[in-house]
Structures are given as C-alpha cells and as structure tokens.
Symmetry: C2
Subunit: 209 residues, 2 copies
DNA sequence: AATTTTTTCAAACGTTCGTATGAATCAGGT
DNA sequence: ACCTGATTCATACGAACGTTTGAAAAAATT
C-alpha cells in the first residue's frame, strides 16, 4: 500500500536539504515522490506548512532526546552542576548522531536543519524558534551553571559561536571531506561529536578578557 | 549625475543580504534602485553575474587587507611562526571590521557574505570558492605553523568550526542582541572580534583527544 | 551640427511558481 | 450492492520570475 503523506515528506526533506526550501518547488517534490501536485495541498495545506511538518517529524523526537539526556545527567549529578562537556554532548550529540540513522533521514535532515538555521525567511525563523524554544530554555541555565564564573556577555557570545559551528557542521559536514583532502571523515559521527564538543568546551572555558 | 551601476549594486547588496539572493527578485532591486528593469541586464548581463559583482566589489579589497595583515605579521615575526591570535585576527578582523564602515556596505555586506557561505546553490558556492581560494591558501599554512603539534585531522575539523562560527556571526550578529536580552552589542565590532578570536583560539588550542 | 555610441525605457516574451477546482477513483461500513 | 467520506487526478488560474527586444533619449565623438 502507498503512503502518500510519507512519500511527500521524504521527498520534500531530501530536496529541501539539498537545495534549500526556497529553491525547491512543489513540482520537484511531487516528481520525486511520484504523487499528484494537489496531494501536497490536500495533505499539508501549503508549501510552508509542509516544511513545518518536515521539520517537526524529526525535531520533536530529537529535542525530546536532548532533554532526556540532559535530565539524566542532572539526575546523576544531584544538586551539583552538570559538567560542561556533558551538557554540550547532550545538546549536539543527538543531532549529530541522527545523521548516522538513515531510517530517520540521516545526514539529509541534519543538512536541512543547518540550512533552516541560516535561512533569512522570517516564517522559517519563527517556525524554528518555536521548535527550539523549550530546548534553549533548559540548556541555557544548565550551561550557565556549568560556567558559573563566565560573565554573561561572554557567555552569550559563545552560545552564538556554538550555534554557528553546530549549524555549519550540520549543514555541510560533507564539504570538510574534500576540503581536508580526505583527512576528516564526516561519516564517523562519534568522532565528529567528540571533535565538536572538545572544540566548543575549550572555547567556552577560555578565560574572559 | 546618476550612477545607475552603483545604484543597482547598492540596492542588490541590501536586498540580497536581507532576504538571500534566491529570494530577492530583480524587480525588487530595480524598485529600490529606481532604475529600469533592463538596466540590470545591460550593465551586468544576468542576475547571477550581478551577485558576483556585488560580492567582488567588497571581497577583493577585503581579501587584500587580510593578506596584507598576515604578511605584516609574518614580517614582524621573522622566521618564527605568527602567534595563533594574530593569524585569527588577520582573518576575521577585516571582515568583522568592515561591518563598522557604512560607506562600504557596513553590516549589510557582512550579512550577505555569511549567507553566501551557507548558500546551497552550486553556482554561488563556486563563485565564493574562487574569491576565497587565495586567502585560504595563505592562511591555512600560517595556522598550521601556529599549531605545529595539532594533528591534521583535528586541525581541519577546527577550521570547519571556525568557518561556521564566523559565518554565523557575519550573517546574524544582530540576532544575538535580542537573544542575549541586550547584554551583547553587535555594533561594538572590536568587542565582537575579540570575543570571536578569544573563543576560536581557545578552541584551536584545546588538547587533542 | 551631424553622426555615432552608450544608456535608458516601456512593453512583452515564455516559463515556472504556489494554489484552486471539480470530477474520478478508492476504501470501508452498512 | 450501495452509499459515504477520503483520496487522487488532470487541468487551469493568476501572479511573479529572469530575460529579451527595439525604439527613444542622452552623451560622446567627429
């Protein structure tokens, strides 16, 4: 039996990720999904809410996993602050790990998520903000508790740099393969997570100037 | 006297930066520049080469400044390696500083540059690669000399994170103002450069795992 | 002043976009 | 077998897109 809705979501995810939501037309999507053009509006209402559905399908479980990991660490630490590395790993780990799971969109969705971070379109921005608000509201205090001596100004700048490094890694890790002349392998996700967490935690721990 | 070519470049720069090149139409550009639609094709040939011209106008002097700064540091250091902070400052400083110069596009162009870094479009990617190749070929050896003990794999990962943090800071520093609740001020470019260089150099110096 | 070259302009080209419509087809319950 | 609601389909709509054209206007050259 044929699951039109899922076919559309899969095709849209791939094309949005590869070319950006704005540069992808519904006709390309329905061509890949092998469904009728009107099916998109029947099942999703509009292109914009199709994008929203594509994102939500992966982001909802992803964010749940992030929060669960963080809570697990907090339970393990009692009333002590969770170490910085653990907080960062809970934040970036599930996202980067998702890329190794082809059944859940694999690298494709990660790329799309990275793209949406950088997308100028205000509708997309608002949609993403909504999806990430809960994660932010839990992780920022956790990070602050792990870095009690860091001035707030430095702290927020470094959050900003974290987002940039993470988004770029999500959107275009593949680029690094050729750029590094094959020395870096983006398919080795655990190594990638370790590299990113290691880099970020050193950056966060830099002494304020 | 009216300088059509410059009016088009200015308007295109602003709109490309604000909405992304793909989401900006020629009709929006000529509306802001108050010129005729055909003038774009008369002066630039196509939308794509208009974007190329917009980028080149700022990037050529910007990259020259980066290389000059690096060479100055190398001269000052004799045959010793240039310290990491100095290399990073020569790389990100001119770009971030450009944002304080409204006569040269100010924050607007920086935002566009950040966007183009993340742009999926292959034409744009190729154009940017061309513009940045010389800078990359000079700065990568300089960075490697400043970090002689860092394994190459780690080195290239960290270059990747650097690009992400820098691009995000260029594209959307403004977002940090509200996100930080006013604690960070993206208009203070020197502070921004210092924050970024400080963060990056700590990340680069993190011990390999 | 006449001629040539460069620049501007209004109008249109063909294409593609997201969306809408109404009929055809299918599935499940009665 | 019949009906009913859900889904698919071909087709069309108006709008916007990048690009082209050929003539008018302006500037430069002679």
């Amino acid at each position: 039996m044929k699951d039109t809705k899922r076919d559309i979501l899969d095709a849209a995810e791939q094309l949005f990720a590869a070319k950006g939501p704005h540069a992808t037309s519904l006709r390309q999507i329905i061509g890949r999904a092998k469904v009728n053009l009107a099916a998109v509006h029947y099942h999703f209402g509009s292109k914009e809410s199709l994008l929203q559905s594509v994102m939500a399908r992966r982001l909802v479980p992803l964010n749940a996993e992030r929060l669960a990991l963080l809570e697990e660490q907090e339970r393990a630490c009692g009333r002590r602050a969770v170490p910085l590395q653990k907080v960062l790993a809970a934040l970036v780990g599930p996202a980067l790990r998702l890329s190794r799971n082809p059944k859940k969109g694999g690298a494709v969705f990660m790329q799309l998520l990275g793209r949406c971070f950088m997308e100028p379109d205000l509708k997309i921005q608002a949609m993403l903000d909504r999806q990430l608000q809960e994660v932010a509201s839990r992780f920022i205090p956790a990070l602050q508790r792990a870095l009690p001596k860091l001035p707030e100004e430095d702290f927020f700048w470094r959050i900003h740099f974290l987002v940039g490094a993470m988004a770029h890694t999500m959107a275009d890790a593949e680029r690094l393969r050729t750029f590094s002349g094959g020395r870096c392998n983006p398919d080795d996700t655990e190594a990638m997570i370790e590299q990113l967490v290691n880099f970020l935690s050193a950056g966060f721990k830099a002494k304020s100037r």
